[in-house]
């Protein structure tokens, strides 16, 4: 399936990390997570719903995040996700991995 890469498409494997990082701000529903990522990245990163929800469910099954049903700010029933202890550890690991990778890529790209 040779789909062409769109600008703003996420680098593979980073969505989990972004979700975890976003959840450090506190419990959040799926729509909220997508919006935060979009805002903070200044509209560069767009989270596709087709990947977001499967990712959330997978993380939940792995015990990295937890969920409960709550009421949203506009009084609607919504599913809120939050980090578990395991999730925090996972985030630290993935963040350090990422920064190492990013630096490495940067060094290669800045090669004279």
């Amino acid at each position: 399936m040779g789909k062409e890469k769109q600008p703003g498409e996420l680098v593979q494997g980073t969505l989990d990390m972004l979700i975890l990082k976003t959840l450090t701000r506190g419990p959040m529903h799926g729509y909220g997570i997508a919006s935060v990522i979009q805002q903070v990245s200044e509209e560069v990163l767009r989270v596709e719903e087709g990947s977001l929800y499967p990712a959330l469910h997978r993380l939940e099954l792995d015990g990295i995040i937890d969920s409960e049903w709550g009421v949203s700010s506009n009084n609607r029933r919504a599913k809120y996700y939050r980090l578990t202890a395991l999730g925090r550890k996972q985030l630290v690991k993935e963040a350090s991995n990422w920064s190492r990778l990013a630096q490495a890529i940067a060094r290669v790209m800045e090669m004279a």
């Binding site: 799926g30 719903e49 499967p54």
Partner: protein, 799 residues
């Protein structure tokens, strides 16, 4: 795992949650953009999204299988005509395969009751040396055993049926094997009770002993362990029971008991030798060594040897079922063809349905089903179909085997014959059911999954995947089908031809109303030839006085039941090459044998009272022998001499020529050369009693037994059957295969024609529009019919 089960229970809840979550997302989005359709579009393929999430919950896989199966049932119910045909076709194929498998597996898993049977060999002297020569030189094998290195153990055995009498129950005839003590070492199994033979048991002055098979111990003594130490009269010799062998151990075949082969006894001639190959020794090496030793033996005798003296062959080849293997393979192939035809047929039916389903499948693809998923769905459908086929097949197989078993009830079954519905058969049934599902399901599934989505939806299925390619594919399948069918028909034809040859060849006697039974006089009680002659004379008088009995006689061999071998010479015969005399078949018969068989002499006369005197020199020959040795001459009055075991008779006179009777039935088109000796000349201990009756022969069995036992209460009468039954059993062997082939070919023909019909009908329905057009521009109905027929024949021709 626990979590998994919890999720499984809560899966509806989870489903609703997902729904809610996505709805919430959609609403938020709509609120933000103020545009509901846009929001929906942005959300993308919701069905796919849900599907992906569900799959995450692990059981989704399980659930989707369940859904597939339910959906398959619904679809199949919808197309019930196609389903019915497919299930019946598969049922026939699978059923036939299961039946054949139960034959073949019984035959191939036959256990001769020998430990590591592939290392056990039969050792035999070839013609050049002569078994007698060998046993004269080394009757107790002592010389051989001390010299042979390539065999771990070497033993001799001899089959000798015995009469068994004890205080419990009637005297019975059992298959007894005289065997050297080392024989049990070769067999390699330990007794479950008591001990086996030891070297000391072989001595002539040792206490006579006997070892029982499990079967005899169970049937006659109800597994009574106190049997050890009891004394039984075996052929009137008291013997101590010393051991019982485990179930299944019946060396060489169908044995009931073993007694030691006593050393130095005169009647030890003609033993068969068997041994176990030493570790790492090949068959060829053993053959070489035995040959070398045998040549040393032969060098002491005046005749010089040409060619190999000894042969060493696998013991497994001794069992008939191993020789039948190629035939089993042929039948297995034939029935495999039937299943293949059934598969092709069903594949064709599924292909024919393809255009109708193309639309449905296109829609499923359009709303997000992956192609793998579609293929899986279609294969599940095939699996459900073949499961149905398996069920029908099982029922057919069950009924077929029951019927077969019932129709065989009057014949004794070979040891390997096991037609019960066992686990092995179920595994096989399941395996071929699944296998066929892939075989017939894969092609149509792949074909359908390649459907051109937009085209199929637009055209409502017409011309989508049922296009040229689909038609060509199903055409090819039909060609294949017809080819297989032709192969089967040819096979069935050949089988029937050879069967007709066997059935059609007259045996040469009137088989109706003849009862046959075996009587074996124990040598211990009837040591002199005169005892045997007088016993049979008295028995004949008693039997013939029974109401309903016309005539009675004894014979050494029944028609198609083999013969004895004699070397033969006649007065004035030119000396033969190398001093070897021609060999002829011979029967020893009492006076009224030809009257019982209703055979009239072609020349001369049959035996009369005057030939019943001991030492009477009269013999009778058959036409085949007469024309071979005296073409165009009258053999009556000629003098001949026969020899068996090297001892020649005095000169005998031919008194008559009788028409040919089949004795050996290997080749029904040729008759053996036969000579008939009067019973008084060559009395036999082991005989068949044959009697012509005026009433249905089996009604007299009890009376016959009573007469025999009134002469000798310890003498068993066994193997009592009408001559017709024996012939029928003989014919049955080929009859089974003929019947199987014919049934397979019939099924194949039926399936192939259904398949052809389906394809032609389908292609006609596909071309309705084209045909309509042809009619409109002036084509007549006749033209159209020719067009269709032409296409049908084009396919047949390839087949």
């Amino acid at each position: 795992m626990k979590k998994f089960l919890k999720r499984l229970r809560r899966r509806r809840q989870l489903d609703r949650d997902l729904e809610d979550e996505l709805r919430f997302h959609l609403e938020m989005k709509a609120e933000e953009t103020g545009d509901v359709p846009e929001a929906r579009r942005r959300l993308g393929n919701v069905t796919l999204l849900k599907e992906v999430c569900r799959e995450l919950w692990a059981f989704a896989a399980l659930e989707s299988w369940w859904l597939d199966i339910r959906y398959a049932f619904r679809t199949l119910a919808k197309y019930n005509g196609v389903t019915l045909v497919a299930v019946v076709a598969l049922g026939l194929g699978i059923g036939a395969n299961t039946v054949v498998f139960s034959f073949v597996s019984g035959a191939l898993s036959f256990d001769p009751g020998i430990d590591r049977a592939d290392r056990v060999v039969l050792v035999s002297a070839t013609d050049a040396l002569g078994q007698d020569e060998l046993s004269r030189y080394d009757p107790d094998l002592r010389n051989f055993r001390s010299q042979v290195k390539s065999l771990e153990e070497l033993a001799a055995y001899r089959l000798s049926p015995v009469n068994w009498s004890d205080n419990s129950g009637l005297p019975e005839r059992y298959v007894c094997v005289q065997m050297s003590a080392s024989g049990f070492a070769v067999i390699g199994r330990q007794p479950i009770l008591g001990r086996k033979f030891e070297a000391a048991d072989e001595r002539a002055d040792a206490t006579a002993v006997v070892v029982l098979t499990h079967g005899l111990w169970q049937d006659r003594y109800g597994k009574d362990p106190s049997i050890i130490g009891k004394i039984i009269r075996v052929d009137e010799v008291p013997r101590v029971v010393i051991g019982v062998m485990p179930a299944g151990s019946r060396f060489p075949e169908d044995t009931d008991l073993w007694i030691p082969l006593v050393q130095g006894k005169a009647d030890n001639h003609d033993p068969s030798l068997f041994g176990r190959l030493a570790d790492g020794v090949t068959l060829a090496a053993a053959r070489n060594e035995m040959d070398t030793i045998a040549r040393r033996v032969a060098n002491r005798s005046p005749n010089t040897l040409k060619g190999p003296a000894m042969d060493v062959g696998p013991v497994l080849e001794m069992y008939g079922v191993y020789h039948a293997r190629p035939l089993f393979v042929v039948v297995l192939c034939a029935v495999g063809f039937v299943l293949l035809i059934a598969c092709v047929n069903v594949a064709n039916l599924l292909l024919a349905r393809a255009p109708v389903r193309a639309r449905e499948i296109s829609i499923r693809i359009a709303i997000g089903a992956g192609r793998r998923r579609i293929i899986r769905q279609l294969l599940v459908e095939s699996a459900v179909l073949s499961f149905g086929g398996g069920l029908v097949g099982w029922l057919l197989a069950f009924a077929g085997l029951r019927w077969f078993d019932a129709s065989m009830a009057r014949f004794p079954k070979p040891a390997w014959f096991d037609l019960s519905m066992n686990t092995r058969m179920f595994v096989y049934l399941a395996a071929i059911s699944i296998g066929t599902a892939f075989l017939f399901g894969l092609v149509p599934a792949l074909q359908l999954a390649r459907v051109d989505v937009s085209n199929a939806i637009k055209n409502g299925g017409h011309g989508a995947s049922g296009g040229t390619r689909g038609r060509r594919l199903s055409g090819t399948l039909v060609v294949f089908e017809v080819t297989l069918c032709v192969v089967l028909l040819v096979g069935a034809g050949l089988m029937i031809r050879s069967a007709v040859k066997v059935y059609g060849t007259p045996i040469g006697v009137n088989t109706a109303n003849v009862i046959t039974m075996r009587i074996d006089l124990p040598e211990a009680k009837y040591p002199r030839p005169d005892d045997e002659i007088s016993f049979h004379k008295r028995l004949k008088t008693r039997i013939e006085s029974l109401p309903g009995v016309e005539a009675s006689a004894v014979t050494s061999n029944l028609p198609i039941w083999g013969q004895m071998d004699f070397s033969f010479e006649w007065e004035g015969m030119p000396p033969a090459d190398g001093g070897r005399l021609p060999s002829v078949g011979g029967l020893v018969v009492s006076r009224d044998y030809f009257r019982v068989m209703q055979v009239r002499p072609r020349r001369g006369r049959v035996f009369a009272d005057s030939d019943e005197v001991k030492g009477s020199p009269a013999v009778i020959v058959n036409e085949a022998l007469a024309t071979k040795f005296w073409p165009g001459e009258d053999p009556v009055g000629k003098h001949v001499r026969v020899a068996r075991h090297g001892t020649a008779q005095s000169w005998l006179t031919i008194i008559g020529v009788i028409p040919d009777i089949h004795q050996d039935f290997q080749d029904p088109s040729a008759y053996d050369l036969l000579i008939y000796l009067p019973y008084a000349l060559e009395p036999q201990l082991s005989t068949f009693l044959v009697s012509r009756t005026r009433v249905p022969p089996t009604t007299l069995v009890k009376a016959f037994r009573r007469e025999v036992q009134s002469l000798d209460e310890n003498l068993p009468v066994y193997d009592v059957r009408s001559l017709e039954d024996r012939i029928a059993q003989h014919h049955m062997n080929i009859g089974i295969f003929v019947a199987l082939f014919t049934i397979f070919a019939a099924i194949a023909l039926l399936l192939a024609s259904v398949g052809l019909y389906a394809v032609v009908a389908h292609s006609v329905s596909q071309r309705t529009r084209e045909i309509g057009l042809r009619m409109a521009v002036g084509g007549t109905a006749r033209d159209i019919v020719w067009l269709i027929l032409g296409q049908g024949f084009a396919r047949l021709r390839w087949g």
